[in-house]
Protein backbone atom coordinates (compact mmCIF):
# COMPACT_ATOMS: atom_id res chain seq x y z
CA UNK A 1 0.00 0.00 0.00
CA UNK A 2 2.76 2.42 0.94
CA UNK A 3 4.81 1.67 -2.08
CA UNK A 4 1.86 2.02 -4.41
CA UNK A 5 0.84 5.21 -2.63
CA UNK A 6 4.29 6.60 -3.33
CA UNK A 7 3.95 5.60 -6.95
CA UNK A 8 0.60 7.36 -7.17
CA UNK A 9 2.08 10.47 -5.58
CA UNK A 10 4.95 10.34 -8.02
CA UNK A 11 2.50 10.17 -10.87
CA UNK A 12 0.54 13.10 -9.45
CA UNK A 13 3.70 15.18 -9.16
CA UNK A 14 4.60 14.35 -12.76
CA UNK A 15 1.13 15.34 -13.88
CA UNK A 16 1.44 18.56 -11.91
CA UNK A 17 4.70 19.30 -13.69
CA UNK A 18 3.14 18.88 -17.09
CA UNK A 19 0.17 21.01 -16.08
CA UNK A 20 2.50 23.65 -14.66
CA UNK A 21 4.27 23.97 -17.97
CA UNK A 22 1.08 24.33 -19.95
CA UNK A 23 -0.99 26.39 -17.55
CA UNK A 24 1.42 28.74 -15.86
CA UNK A 25 1.05 32.35 -16.88
CA UNK A 26 3.62 33.65 -19.32
CA UNK A 27 6.23 35.66 -17.48
CA UNK A 28 7.22 38.91 -19.11
CA UNK A 29 10.94 39.28 -19.63
CA UNK A 30 13.38 40.02 -22.37
CA UNK A 31 13.34 37.21 -24.87
CA UNK A 32 14.22 36.45 -28.47
CA UNK A 33 11.47 34.28 -29.85
CA UNK A 34 7.93 35.51 -30.31
CA UNK A 35 4.68 34.14 -31.64
CA UNK A 36 1.78 36.14 -33.01
CA UNK A 37 -1.55 34.78 -34.22
CA UNK A 38 -3.81 35.91 -37.02
CA UNK A 39 -7.00 34.75 -38.70
CA UNK A 40 -8.45 35.35 -42.15
CA UNK A 41 -10.05 38.75 -42.74
CA UNK A 42 -9.59 41.25 -45.56
CA UNK A 43 -7.59 43.65 -43.40
CA UNK A 44 -5.40 40.96 -41.85
CA UNK A 45 -4.26 39.14 -44.97
CA UNK A 46 -0.96 41.11 -44.93
CA UNK A 47 0.11 39.06 -41.90
CA UNK A 48 -0.20 35.89 -43.93
CA UNK A 49 1.82 37.52 -46.68
CA UNK A 50 4.44 38.65 -44.17
CA UNK A 51 4.94 35.05 -43.10
CA UNK A 52 4.85 33.50 -46.57
CA UNK A 53 7.02 36.07 -48.33
CA UNK A 54 9.81 35.99 -45.78
CA UNK A 55 9.42 39.70 -45.09
CA UNK A 56 8.66 38.97 -41.44
CA UNK A 57 11.93 37.08 -41.17
CA UNK A 58 13.76 39.97 -42.81
CA UNK A 59 12.43 42.47 -40.26
CA UNK A 60 12.88 40.11 -37.32
CA UNK A 61 16.49 39.48 -38.37
CA UNK A 62 17.05 43.20 -38.54
CA UNK A 63 16.25 43.45 -34.83
CA UNK A 64 17.93 40.17 -33.91
CA UNK A 65 14.75 38.36 -32.89
CA UNK A 66 12.49 35.71 -34.38
CA UNK A 67 8.77 36.14 -34.92
CA UNK A 68 6.57 33.22 -35.82
CA UNK A 69 3.27 34.16 -37.46
CA UNK A 70 0.63 31.49 -36.86
CA UNK A 71 -2.67 31.35 -38.70
CA UNK A 72 -5.59 30.20 -36.55
CA UNK A 73 -8.77 29.10 -38.30
CA UNK A 74 -11.12 30.12 -35.52
CA UNK A 75 -10.98 33.84 -34.79
CA UNK A 76 -12.31 33.73 -31.22
CA UNK A 77 -10.08 30.80 -30.40
CA UNK A 78 -7.03 32.79 -31.51
CA UNK A 79 -7.94 35.59 -29.09
CA UNK A 80 -8.59 33.11 -26.30
CA UNK A 81 -5.19 31.55 -26.94
CA UNK A 82 -3.56 34.97 -26.81
CA UNK A 83 -5.40 35.78 -23.59
CA UNK A 84 -4.30 32.49 -22.06
CA UNK A 85 -0.69 33.42 -22.84
CA UNK A 86 0.06 31.16 -25.79
CA UNK A 87 0.85 34.11 -28.10
CA UNK A 88 2.63 37.43 -27.65
CA UNK A 89 0.28 39.17 -30.05
CA UNK A 90 -2.89 38.58 -32.00
CA UNK A 91 -5.11 40.39 -34.49
CA UNK A 92 -8.56 41.38 -33.21
CA UNK A 93 -11.16 44.13 -33.33
CA UNK A 94 -11.28 46.97 -30.83
CA UNK A 95 -14.35 45.48 -29.15
CA UNK A 96 -12.87 42.01 -28.76
CA UNK A 97 -9.62 43.53 -27.47
CA UNK A 98 -11.62 45.19 -24.72
CA UNK A 99 -13.90 42.28 -23.85
CA UNK A 100 -11.55 39.30 -24.06
CA UNK A 101 -7.92 40.05 -23.09
CA UNK A 102 -8.47 43.42 -21.37
CA UNK A 103 -11.53 42.29 -19.41
CA UNK A 104 -9.59 39.12 -18.62
CA UNK A 105 -6.89 41.16 -16.95
CA UNK A 106 -4.27 40.75 -19.67
CA UNK A 107 -2.78 44.20 -20.18
CA UNK A 108 -2.80 44.65 -23.95
CA UNK A 109 -1.55 47.28 -26.34
CA UNK A 110 -3.02 48.08 -29.73
CA UNK A 111 0.29 48.29 -31.56
CA UNK A 112 -0.97 48.75 -35.11
CA UNK A 113 -4.30 50.22 -36.13
CA UNK A 114 -4.61 48.53 -39.49
CA UNK A 115 -8.01 49.53 -40.78
CA UNK A 116 -11.60 50.12 -39.87
CA UNK A 117 -14.65 48.46 -41.37
CA UNK A 118 -16.24 50.79 -43.88
CA UNK A 119 -19.02 48.59 -45.15
CA UNK A 120 -17.48 45.21 -44.40
CA UNK A 121 -20.14 44.49 -41.77
CA UNK A 122 -23.81 44.81 -42.63
CA UNK A 123 -27.43 43.92 -41.94
CA UNK A 124 -29.41 42.16 -44.66
CA UNK A 125 -33.17 41.60 -44.72
CA UNK A 126 -35.22 39.30 -46.91
CA UNK A 127 -38.48 41.04 -46.18
CA UNK A 128 -38.20 44.72 -45.49
CA UNK A 129 -36.30 47.62 -46.91
CA UNK A 130 -35.25 49.68 -43.87
CA UNK A 131 -33.73 49.21 -40.44
CA UNK A 132 -37.16 49.84 -38.87
CA UNK A 133 -38.39 46.65 -40.56
CA UNK A 134 -36.16 44.67 -38.21
CA UNK A 135 -38.88 45.00 -35.61
CA UNK A 136 -40.26 41.62 -34.57
CA UNK A 137 -37.86 39.65 -36.76
CA UNK A 138 -35.59 36.80 -35.81
CA UNK A 139 -32.05 37.88 -36.58
CA UNK A 140 -29.26 35.39 -37.23
CA UNK A 141 -25.86 36.67 -36.13
CA UNK A 142 -22.79 35.73 -34.14
CA UNK A 143 -23.94 36.94 -30.74
CA UNK A 144 -21.67 39.26 -28.77
CA UNK A 145 -19.51 39.94 -31.81
CA UNK A 146 -19.07 43.18 -33.76
CA UNK A 147 -22.17 42.10 -35.71
CA UNK A 148 -24.14 42.36 -32.51
CA UNK A 149 -22.64 45.80 -31.87
CA UNK A 150 -23.53 46.91 -35.39
CA UNK A 151 -27.11 45.71 -34.84
CA UNK A 152 -27.33 47.68 -31.59
CA UNK A 153 -26.07 50.81 -33.35
CA UNK A 154 -28.51 50.33 -36.22
CA UNK A 155 -31.44 49.88 -33.83
CA UNK A 156 -30.34 53.01 -31.94
CA UNK A 157 -30.50 54.98 -35.15
CA UNK A 158 -34.24 54.34 -35.53
CA UNK A 159 -35.19 54.33 -31.85
CA UNK A 160 -35.62 50.56 -31.57
CA UNK A 161 -34.05 48.36 -28.90
CA UNK A 162 -32.85 44.78 -28.81
CA UNK A 163 -36.01 43.67 -27.04
CA UNK A 164 -38.00 44.59 -30.15
CA UNK A 165 -36.56 41.58 -31.96
CA UNK A 166 -34.95 38.27 -31.13
CA UNK A 167 -31.39 37.33 -31.91
CA UNK A 168 -30.38 33.78 -32.80
CA UNK A 169 -26.74 32.94 -32.26
CA UNK A 170 -25.58 31.44 -35.55
CA UNK A 171 -22.10 30.36 -36.54
CA UNK A 172 -20.61 32.61 -39.21
CA UNK A 173 -19.79 29.46 -41.18
CA UNK A 174 -23.50 28.61 -41.54
CA UNK A 175 -25.01 32.04 -42.03
CA UNK A 176 -24.85 32.04 -45.82
CA UNK A 177 -26.42 28.62 -46.32
CA UNK A 178 -29.10 29.31 -43.75
CA UNK A 179 -30.11 32.67 -45.16
CA UNK A 180 -30.12 31.58 -48.76
CA UNK A 181 -32.03 28.33 -48.29
CA UNK A 182 -34.16 28.45 -45.17
CA UNK A 183 -37.47 30.28 -44.95
CA UNK A 184 -36.94 30.62 -41.17
CA UNK A 185 -34.11 33.03 -41.66
CA UNK A 186 -35.26 36.46 -42.74
CA UNK A 187 -32.62 38.76 -41.29
CA UNK A 188 -28.88 38.40 -40.75
CA UNK A 189 -26.00 40.52 -39.53
CA UNK A 190 -22.63 39.40 -40.77
CA UNK A 191 -19.29 40.43 -42.22
CA UNK A 192 -17.48 39.94 -45.49
CA UNK A 193 -17.08 37.70 -47.42
CA UNK A 194 -20.37 36.27 -46.10
CA UNK A 195 -22.01 39.70 -46.32
CA UNK A 196 -21.51 39.89 -50.07
CA UNK A 197 -23.08 36.44 -50.43
CA UNK A 198 -26.20 37.14 -48.38
CA UNK A 199 -26.68 40.57 -49.93
CA UNK A 200 -26.69 38.81 -53.29
CA UNK A 201 -29.62 36.57 -52.37
CA UNK A 202 -32.62 37.32 -54.59
CA UNK A 203 -34.92 39.89 -53.03
CA UNK A 204 -32.56 40.67 -50.15
CA UNK A 205 -31.80 44.25 -49.13
CA UNK A 206 -28.78 45.53 -47.26
CA UNK A 207 -30.41 48.00 -44.87
CA UNK A 208 -27.39 49.07 -42.81
CA UNK A 209 -23.66 48.66 -42.90
CA UNK A 210 -20.58 49.80 -41.06
CA UNK A 211 -19.96 52.69 -43.46
CA UNK A 212 -22.78 54.41 -41.54
CA UNK A 213 -20.70 54.19 -38.35
CA UNK A 214 -17.23 54.76 -39.81
CA UNK A 215 -14.26 54.19 -37.53
CA UNK A 216 -16.17 52.23 -34.89
CA UNK A 217 -15.20 48.69 -35.87
CA UNK A 218 -11.42 48.82 -35.85
CA UNK A 219 -9.01 46.02 -36.73
CA UNK A 220 -5.88 45.93 -34.64
CA UNK A 221 -2.67 44.08 -34.02
CA UNK A 222 -2.70 43.70 -30.26
CA UNK A 223 0.37 42.67 -28.26
CA UNK A 224 0.90 41.92 -24.61
CA UNK A 225 1.85 45.22 -22.93
CA UNK A 226 4.43 43.66 -20.61
CA UNK A 227 6.11 41.80 -23.46
CA UNK A 228 6.18 44.93 -25.59
CA UNK A 229 7.64 47.03 -22.79
CA UNK A 230 10.45 44.55 -22.19
CA UNK A 231 10.96 43.93 -25.91
CA UNK A 232 10.50 47.09 -27.98
CA UNK A 233 12.20 45.17 -30.80
CA UNK A 234 9.05 43.10 -31.23
CA UNK A 235 6.99 46.25 -31.73
CA UNK A 236 9.51 47.64 -34.20
CA UNK A 237 9.74 44.44 -36.23
CA UNK A 238 5.95 44.01 -36.47
CA UNK A 239 5.33 47.64 -37.34
CA UNK A 240 8.17 47.63 -39.83
CA UNK A 241 6.98 44.63 -41.77
CA UNK A 242 3.39 45.87 -41.70
CA UNK A 243 4.12 49.18 -43.37
CA UNK A 244 6.46 47.65 -45.91
CA UNK A 245 3.55 45.47 -47.03
CA UNK A 246 1.13 48.41 -46.82
CA UNK A 247 3.36 50.22 -49.31
CA UNK A 248 3.20 47.28 -51.70
CA UNK A 249 -0.58 47.14 -51.38
CA UNK A 250 -1.03 50.88 -51.85
CA UNK A 251 1.00 50.62 -55.06
CA UNK A 252 -1.44 47.94 -56.18
CA UNK A 253 1.29 45.30 -56.53
CA UNK A 254 -0.75 42.60 -58.30
CA UNK A 255 1.54 39.76 -57.19
CA UNK A 256 1.12 40.67 -53.53
CA UNK A 257 -2.63 41.19 -53.79
CA UNK A 258 -3.03 37.97 -55.76
CA UNK A 259 -1.25 36.08 -52.99
CA UNK A 260 -3.54 37.57 -50.34
CA UNK A 261 -6.65 36.97 -52.45
CA UNK A 262 -5.75 33.32 -52.84
CA UNK A 263 -5.10 32.92 -49.12
CA UNK A 264 -8.49 34.55 -48.43
CA UNK A 265 -10.18 32.00 -50.67
CA UNK A 266 -11.21 34.46 -53.36
CA UNK A 267 -9.76 35.97 -56.54
CA UNK A 268 -8.13 39.32 -57.18
CA UNK A 269 -11.42 41.02 -58.05
CA UNK A 270 -13.14 39.56 -55.01
CA UNK A 271 -10.35 40.66 -52.72
CA UNK A 272 -10.32 44.15 -54.22
CA UNK A 273 -14.07 44.34 -53.55
CA UNK A 274 -13.47 43.42 -49.90
CA UNK A 275 -10.71 45.98 -49.60
CA UNK A 276 -13.05 48.61 -51.05
CA UNK A 277 -15.25 48.34 -47.96
CA UNK A 278 -12.23 48.25 -45.66
CA UNK A 279 -10.68 51.60 -44.84
CA UNK A 280 -7.04 50.52 -44.81
CA UNK A 281 -4.46 52.88 -43.32
CA UNK A 282 -1.83 52.36 -45.98
CA UNK A 283 0.27 55.20 -44.57
CA UNK A 284 1.33 55.17 -40.92
CA UNK A 285 0.56 58.90 -40.78
CA UNK A 286 -3.15 58.24 -41.30
CA UNK A 287 -3.17 55.58 -38.58
CA UNK A 288 -1.38 57.94 -36.18
CA UNK A 289 -3.92 60.71 -36.84
CA UNK A 290 -6.78 58.26 -36.29
CA UNK A 291 -5.28 56.84 -33.10
CA UNK A 292 -4.55 60.24 -31.59
CA UNK A 293 -7.88 61.76 -32.64
CA UNK A 294 -10.54 62.74 -30.12
CA UNK A 295 -12.98 60.45 -31.90
CA UNK A 296 -11.28 57.23 -30.75
CA UNK A 297 -12.06 57.67 -27.03
CA UNK A 298 -15.66 58.51 -27.96
CA UNK A 299 -15.89 55.32 -30.04
CA UNK A 300 -14.40 53.23 -27.26
CA UNK A 301 -16.89 54.76 -24.83
CA UNK A 302 -19.74 53.51 -27.05
CA UNK A 303 -18.10 50.13 -27.36
CA UNK A 304 -17.58 49.76 -23.61
CA UNK A 305 -21.20 50.79 -22.91
CA UNK A 306 -22.43 48.12 -25.29
CA UNK A 307 -20.02 45.59 -23.80
CA UNK A 308 -21.03 46.39 -20.25
CA UNK A 309 -24.76 46.20 -21.07
CA UNK A 310 -24.22 42.73 -22.49
CA UNK A 311 -22.15 41.50 -19.56
CA UNK A 312 -18.99 41.26 -21.65
CA UNK A 313 -16.75 43.03 -19.15
CA UNK A 314 -17.23 40.12 -16.78
CA UNK A 315 -19.33 39.94 -13.67
CA UNK A 316 -16.68 41.55 -11.51
CA UNK A 317 -17.44 44.73 -13.44
CA UNK A 318 -20.00 46.81 -11.57
CA UNK A 319 -19.84 49.75 -13.95
CA UNK A 320 -18.54 50.30 -17.45
CA UNK A 321 -15.52 51.99 -15.85
CA UNK A 322 -14.21 48.70 -14.47
CA UNK A 323 -11.73 48.13 -17.29
CA UNK A 324 -9.57 51.16 -17.92
CA UNK A 325 -8.29 52.24 -21.34
CA UNK A 326 -5.45 54.59 -22.20
CA UNK A 327 -5.06 56.70 -25.31
CA UNK A 328 -2.12 58.62 -26.73
CA UNK A 329 -1.47 61.86 -24.89
CA UNK A 330 -2.30 60.52 -21.46
CA UNK A 331 -6.07 60.50 -21.90
CA UNK A 332 -7.82 57.62 -20.15
CA UNK A 333 -11.30 56.15 -19.94
CA UNK A 334 -12.55 54.19 -16.95
CA UNK A 335 -10.58 53.07 -13.92
CA UNK A 336 -7.10 54.67 -14.20
CA UNK A 337 -5.74 52.07 -11.75
CA UNK A 338 -6.86 49.19 -13.91
CA UNK A 339 -5.71 50.20 -17.38
CA UNK A 340 -5.78 47.04 -19.46
CA UNK A 341 -6.15 48.28 -23.02
CA UNK A 342 -3.74 50.85 -24.40
CA UNK A 343 -3.87 52.53 -27.77
CA UNK A 344 -0.30 53.35 -28.64
CA UNK A 345 0.70 55.46 -31.65
CA UNK A 346 4.40 55.44 -30.77
CA UNK A 347 5.51 52.63 -33.08
CA UNK A 348 3.32 53.78 -35.95
CA UNK A 349 4.80 57.26 -35.50
CA UNK A 350 8.30 55.75 -35.77
CA UNK A 351 7.20 54.16 -39.03
CA UNK A 352 5.87 57.44 -40.39
CA UNK A 353 9.13 59.17 -39.47
CA UNK A 354 11.10 56.42 -41.17
CA UNK A 355 12.85 55.47 -37.94
CA UNK A 356 12.34 51.73 -38.22
Amino acid sequence: MHRSLKRVLGFAVGLAGVAAMTLSPAMAAEKKDFKVAWSIYAGWMPWGYAADSGLMKKWADKYGISVEIVQINDYVESINQYTAGAFDGCVMTNMDALTIPAAGGVDSTALIVGDFSNGNDGIVLKTGKTVADLKGQKVNLVELSVSHYLLARALDSVGLAEKDLSVVNTSDADIVSVFSSSVDSTAVVTWNPQLAEVAGVKGATKVFDSSKIPGEIIDLMVVNTGTLKDNPKLGKALTGVWYEIMDLMAKGDAKVLEHMAKAAGTDLAGYRAQLASTMMFYKPTGAVVFTTSAQLPRTMDRVRSFSFDHGLLGEGAKTKDAVGMAFPGGKTLGDPNNIKLRFDAEYMAMASEGKL
Binding site: A12, L23, V106
Partner: protein
Protein backbone atom coordinates in the same frame (compact mmCIF):
# COMPACT_ATOMS: atom_id res chain seq x y z
CA UNK B 1 8.09 -12.61 -2.92
CA UNK B 2 4.97 -10.83 -1.75
CA UNK B 3 1.52 -11.47 -3.03
CA UNK B 4 1.00 -10.60 -6.68
CA UNK B 5 -0.72 -7.30 -7.22
CA UNK B 6 -3.51 -8.99 -9.16
CA UNK B 7 -4.45 -10.90 -6.02
CA UNK B 8 -4.49 -8.00 -3.60
CA UNK B 9 -7.93 -6.52 -3.07
CA UNK B 10 -8.68 -3.19 -1.42
CA UNK B 11 -11.01 -3.30 1.58
CA UNK B 12 -14.24 -1.31 1.67
CA UNK B 13 -12.72 1.85 3.15
CA UNK B 14 -9.58 1.54 1.07
CA UNK B 15 -11.62 1.21 -2.13
CA UNK B 16 -13.42 4.39 -1.23
CA UNK B 17 -10.07 6.11 -0.74
CA UNK B 18 -8.72 4.90 -4.09
CA UNK B 19 -11.93 5.92 -5.78
CA UNK B 20 -11.79 9.42 -4.31
CA UNK B 21 -8.08 9.91 -4.92
CA UNK B 22 -8.23 10.89 -8.63
CA UNK B 23 -10.94 13.44 -7.82
CA UNK B 24 -8.86 14.85 -4.97
CA UNK B 25 -5.79 15.06 -7.18
CA UNK B 26 -7.78 16.93 -9.82
CA UNK B 27 -9.19 19.37 -7.26
CA UNK B 28 -5.79 20.00 -5.70
CA UNK B 29 -4.19 20.53 -9.12
CA UNK B 30 -6.94 22.91 -10.10
CA UNK B 31 -6.74 24.93 -6.89
CA UNK B 32 -2.96 25.14 -7.11
CA UNK B 33 -2.82 26.39 -10.68
CA UNK B 34 -5.81 28.62 -10.25
CA UNK B 35 -4.07 30.26 -7.29
CA UNK B 36 -0.83 30.56 -9.27
CA UNK B 37 -2.51 32.26 -12.21
CA UNK B 38 -4.62 34.50 -10.00
CA UNK B 39 -1.56 35.61 -8.06
CA UNK B 40 -0.03 36.72 -11.35
CA UNK B 41 -3.22 38.29 -12.70
CA UNK B 42 -6.20 38.74 -10.36
CA UNK B 43 -8.56 39.06 -13.35
CA UNK B 44 -7.48 35.80 -14.95
CA UNK B 45 -10.44 34.01 -16.49
CA UNK B 46 -8.86 30.72 -17.47
CA UNK B 47 -8.85 29.01 -14.07
CA UNK B 48 -11.22 31.02 -11.86
CA UNK B 49 -11.17 30.50 -8.10
CA UNK B 50 -13.93 28.38 -6.57
CA UNK B 51 -15.39 31.53 -5.04
CA UNK B 52 -15.97 33.15 -8.41
CA UNK B 53 -17.34 29.88 -9.79
CA UNK B 54 -19.78 29.81 -6.87
CA UNK B 55 -20.67 33.41 -7.68
CA UNK B 56 -21.36 32.51 -11.27
CA UNK B 57 -23.52 29.55 -10.23
CA UNK B 58 -25.55 31.82 -7.96
CA UNK B 59 -25.97 34.29 -10.78
CA UNK B 60 -26.96 31.72 -13.37
CA UNK B 61 -29.16 29.53 -11.17
CA UNK B 62 -30.85 32.03 -8.85
CA UNK B 63 -31.00 35.49 -10.36
CA UNK B 64 -33.14 36.39 -13.36
CA UNK B 65 -31.18 37.58 -16.38
CA UNK B 66 -31.11 41.34 -16.91
CA UNK B 67 -32.14 41.12 -20.54
CA UNK B 68 -34.62 38.27 -20.81
CA UNK B 69 -35.87 38.01 -17.22
CA UNK B 70 -35.34 34.24 -17.27
CA UNK B 71 -33.20 32.43 -14.76
CA UNK B 72 -30.65 31.28 -17.29
CA UNK B 73 -29.51 27.92 -15.94
CA UNK B 74 -33.07 26.61 -15.63
CA UNK B 75 -34.23 28.07 -18.93
CA UNK B 76 -31.21 26.50 -20.65
CA UNK B 77 -31.74 23.19 -18.88
CA UNK B 78 -35.41 23.08 -19.83
CA UNK B 79 -34.66 23.87 -23.47
CA UNK B 80 -31.89 21.28 -23.70
CA UNK B 81 -33.78 18.56 -21.87
CA UNK B 82 -36.86 19.00 -24.03
CA UNK B 83 -34.75 18.67 -27.19
CA UNK B 84 -32.91 15.69 -25.76
CA UNK B 85 -36.14 14.09 -24.54
CA UNK B 86 -37.90 14.51 -27.89
CA UNK B 87 -34.87 13.26 -29.79
CA UNK B 88 -34.40 10.21 -27.58
CA UNK B 89 -38.14 9.46 -27.61
CA UNK B 90 -38.20 9.56 -31.39
CA UNK B 91 -35.09 7.43 -31.65
CA UNK B 92 -36.41 4.92 -29.11
CA UNK B 93 -39.70 4.58 -30.94
CA UNK B 94 -37.89 4.05 -34.22
CA UNK B 95 -35.50 1.64 -32.55
CA UNK B 96 -38.31 -0.40 -31.08
CA UNK B 97 -40.47 -0.67 -34.20
CA UNK B 98 -37.59 -0.94 -36.65
CA UNK B 99 -35.67 -3.40 -34.48
CA UNK B 100 -38.59 -5.73 -33.94
CA UNK B 101 -39.61 -5.59 -37.59
CA UNK B 102 -36.09 -6.37 -38.81
CA UNK B 103 -35.45 -9.00 -36.17
CA UNK B 104 -38.74 -10.83 -36.51
CA UNK B 105 -40.11 -10.37 -40.04
CA UNK B 106 -37.91 -11.80 -42.81
CA UNK B 107 -39.32 -9.47 -45.46
CA UNK B 108 -38.69 -6.43 -43.29
CA UNK B 109 -35.14 -7.67 -42.70
CA UNK B 110 -34.57 -8.13 -46.42
CA UNK B 111 -35.92 -4.69 -47.17
CA UNK B 112 -34.63 -2.60 -44.29
CA UNK B 113 -31.49 -4.15 -42.82
CA UNK B 114 -29.12 -3.02 -45.62
CA UNK B 115 -30.37 0.56 -45.69
CA UNK B 116 -30.21 0.86 -41.90
CA UNK B 117 -26.71 -0.59 -41.95
CA UNK B 118 -25.60 2.00 -44.49
CA UNK B 119 -27.39 4.91 -42.80
CA UNK B 120 -25.80 4.03 -39.49
CA UNK B 121 -22.37 4.57 -41.06
CA UNK B 122 -23.07 8.22 -41.97
CA UNK B 123 -21.43 10.45 -39.39
CA UNK B 124 -24.40 12.54 -38.18
CA UNK B 125 -22.28 15.68 -37.72
CA UNK B 126 -21.40 15.55 -41.39
CA UNK B 127 -25.03 15.93 -42.42
CA UNK B 128 -25.71 18.74 -39.95
CA UNK B 129 -25.46 21.50 -42.59
CA UNK B 130 -27.98 19.56 -44.68
CA UNK B 131 -30.31 19.18 -41.71
CA UNK B 132 -30.19 22.92 -41.08
CA UNK B 133 -31.21 23.58 -44.65
CA UNK B 134 -33.94 20.94 -44.77
CA UNK B 135 -35.41 21.40 -41.29
CA UNK B 136 -34.55 25.03 -40.64
CA UNK B 137 -32.63 26.40 -37.70
CA UNK B 138 -35.33 25.86 -35.11
CA UNK B 139 -35.98 23.02 -32.71
CA UNK B 140 -36.75 20.46 -35.38
CA UNK B 141 -33.26 20.19 -36.85
CA UNK B 142 -31.72 19.72 -33.40
CA UNK B 143 -34.18 16.96 -32.52
CA UNK B 144 -33.70 15.31 -35.90
CA UNK B 145 -29.93 15.32 -35.44
CA UNK B 146 -30.31 13.35 -32.21
CA UNK B 147 -32.74 10.94 -33.86
CA UNK B 148 -30.45 10.40 -36.84
CA UNK B 149 -27.47 9.99 -34.57
CA UNK B 150 -29.01 7.50 -32.18
CA UNK B 151 -31.78 5.62 -33.99
CA UNK B 152 -29.68 3.47 -36.39
CA UNK B 153 -27.67 2.11 -33.47
CA UNK B 154 -30.84 1.34 -31.51
CA UNK B 155 -32.50 -0.34 -34.49
CA UNK B 156 -29.51 -2.55 -35.22
CA UNK B 157 -28.94 -3.40 -31.57
CA UNK B 158 -32.58 -4.29 -31.05
CA UNK B 159 -32.78 -6.32 -34.26
CA UNK B 160 -29.85 -8.40 -32.97
CA UNK B 161 -31.51 -8.83 -29.60
CA UNK B 162 -34.77 -9.95 -31.26
CA UNK B 163 -32.88 -12.41 -33.43
CA UNK B 164 -31.24 -13.79 -30.27
CA UNK B 165 -34.58 -14.82 -28.81
CA UNK B 166 -34.47 -18.65 -28.75
CA UNK B 167 -36.45 -19.89 -31.74
CA UNK B 168 -37.98 -22.55 -29.45
CA UNK B 169 -39.89 -19.78 -27.70
CA UNK B 170 -41.28 -18.36 -30.91
CA UNK B 171 -42.22 -21.82 -32.21
CA UNK B 172 -43.82 -22.73 -28.90
CA UNK B 173 -45.93 -19.60 -29.01
CA UNK B 174 -47.03 -20.51 -32.52
CA UNK B 175 -48.03 -24.05 -31.53
CA UNK B 176 -50.12 -22.48 -28.77
CA UNK B 177 -51.91 -20.53 -31.49
CA UNK B 178 -50.37 -17.07 -31.03
CA UNK B 179 -50.72 -14.61 -33.90
CA UNK B 180 -47.75 -12.54 -35.04
CA UNK B 181 -49.05 -9.60 -33.04
CA UNK B 182 -49.39 -11.76 -29.93
CA UNK B 183 -45.86 -13.04 -30.39
CA UNK B 184 -44.68 -9.47 -30.54
CA UNK B 185 -46.54 -8.35 -27.43
CA UNK B 186 -46.17 -11.50 -25.29
CA UNK B 187 -42.82 -12.97 -26.32
CA UNK B 188 -40.68 -10.31 -27.95
CA UNK B 189 -41.52 -7.11 -26.07
CA UNK B 190 -40.98 -8.45 -22.54
CA UNK B 191 -37.58 -9.73 -23.60
CA UNK B 192 -36.28 -6.82 -25.60
CA UNK B 193 -37.70 -3.70 -23.93
CA UNK B 194 -35.30 -3.92 -20.98
CA UNK B 195 -32.47 -4.38 -23.47
CA UNK B 196 -33.72 -1.37 -25.37
CA UNK B 197 -33.55 0.64 -22.15
CA UNK B 198 -29.93 -0.46 -21.75
CA UNK B 199 -29.17 0.53 -25.32
CA UNK B 200 -30.71 3.95 -24.73
CA UNK B 201 -28.49 4.31 -21.66
CA UNK B 202 -25.45 3.70 -23.81
CA UNK B 203 -26.75 6.23 -26.34
CA UNK B 204 -27.00 9.04 -23.80
CA UNK B 205 -23.40 10.08 -24.41
CA UNK B 206 -23.77 10.43 -28.20
CA UNK B 207 -27.19 12.08 -27.76
CA UNK B 208 -25.67 14.81 -25.57
CA UNK B 209 -22.84 15.23 -28.03
CA UNK B 210 -25.25 15.82 -30.90
CA UNK B 211 -27.42 18.12 -28.81
CA UNK B 212 -24.55 20.35 -27.76
CA UNK B 213 -23.07 20.47 -31.25
CA UNK B 214 -26.39 21.56 -32.72
CA UNK B 215 -26.89 24.16 -30.01
CA UNK B 216 -23.40 25.51 -30.53
CA UNK B 217 -24.08 26.30 -34.16
CA UNK B 218 -27.49 27.97 -34.04
CA UNK B 219 -29.72 28.46 -31.02
CA UNK B 220 -31.38 30.97 -28.74
CA UNK B 221 -31.06 28.97 -25.54
CA UNK B 222 -29.81 25.66 -24.19
CA UNK B 223 -26.83 24.40 -22.22
CA UNK B 224 -24.62 24.02 -25.28
CA UNK B 225 -25.67 27.44 -26.56
CA UNK B 226 -24.64 29.10 -23.30
CA UNK B 227 -21.25 27.39 -23.20
CA UNK B 228 -20.40 28.44 -26.73
CA UNK B 229 -21.78 31.94 -26.21
CA UNK B 230 -19.79 32.79 -23.09
CA UNK B 231 -16.74 31.15 -24.64
CA UNK B 232 -16.65 34.38 -26.63
CA UNK B 233 -15.38 36.17 -23.55
CA UNK B 234 -13.62 33.24 -21.95
CA UNK B 235 -16.06 33.02 -19.02
CA UNK B 236 -14.70 29.78 -17.56
CA UNK B 237 -16.56 30.59 -14.34
CA UNK B 238 -19.77 29.84 -16.26
CA UNK B 239 -18.45 27.10 -18.56
CA UNK B 240 -17.04 24.86 -15.80
CA UNK B 241 -20.26 24.68 -13.74
CA UNK B 242 -22.27 24.11 -16.92
CA UNK B 243 -20.05 21.17 -17.82
CA UNK B 244 -20.43 19.79 -14.31
CA UNK B 245 -24.20 20.26 -14.52
CA UNK B 246 -24.42 18.43 -17.84
CA UNK B 247 -22.42 15.60 -16.32
CA UNK B 248 -24.82 15.44 -13.38
CA UNK B 249 -27.85 15.44 -15.68
CA UNK B 250 -26.40 12.68 -17.85
CA UNK B 251 -25.54 10.66 -14.77
CA UNK B 252 -29.05 11.09 -13.36
CA UNK B 253 -30.64 10.03 -16.64
CA UNK B 254 -28.45 6.95 -16.75
CA UNK B 255 -29.33 6.13 -13.18
CA UNK B 256 -33.06 6.67 -13.77
CA UNK B 257 -33.07 4.34 -16.77
CA UNK B 258 -31.28 1.70 -14.74
CA UNK B 259 -33.82 2.05 -11.93
CA UNK B 260 -36.65 1.93 -14.44
CA UNK B 261 -35.30 -1.31 -15.85
CA UNK B 262 -34.92 -2.87 -12.47
CA UNK B 263 -38.34 -1.96 -11.16
CA UNK B 264 -40.38 -2.56 -14.35
CA UNK B 265 -38.57 -5.69 -15.50
CA UNK B 266 -37.50 -7.38 -12.29
CA UNK B 267 -37.01 -10.70 -14.09
CA UNK B 268 -34.08 -9.27 -16.00
CA UNK B 269 -31.95 -8.59 -12.95
CA UNK B 270 -33.00 -11.86 -11.40
CA UNK B 271 -31.76 -13.76 -14.41
CA UNK B 272 -28.51 -11.86 -14.52
CA UNK B 273 -27.61 -12.34 -10.89
Amino acid sequence: MGRRIINRHPGRGSALFWGALPFLVLVVLYVTFSALRLAENPNDKLLPAFASIADAIGRMALEPDKRSGDVLLWADTAASLSRLGLGLAGATLLGLTGGIAIGLVPYARAGLAPVVAVLSMIPPMAVLPILFIVFGLDELSKVVLIVIGVAPFLIRDLALKVAEIPSELVIKAQTLGASTWQIVTRVVLPQVVPKLADAVRLSLGPAWLFLISAEAIAAQDGLGYRIFLVRRYLAMDVILPYVAWITVLAFLMDWALRRFNRSVFPWLARGAS
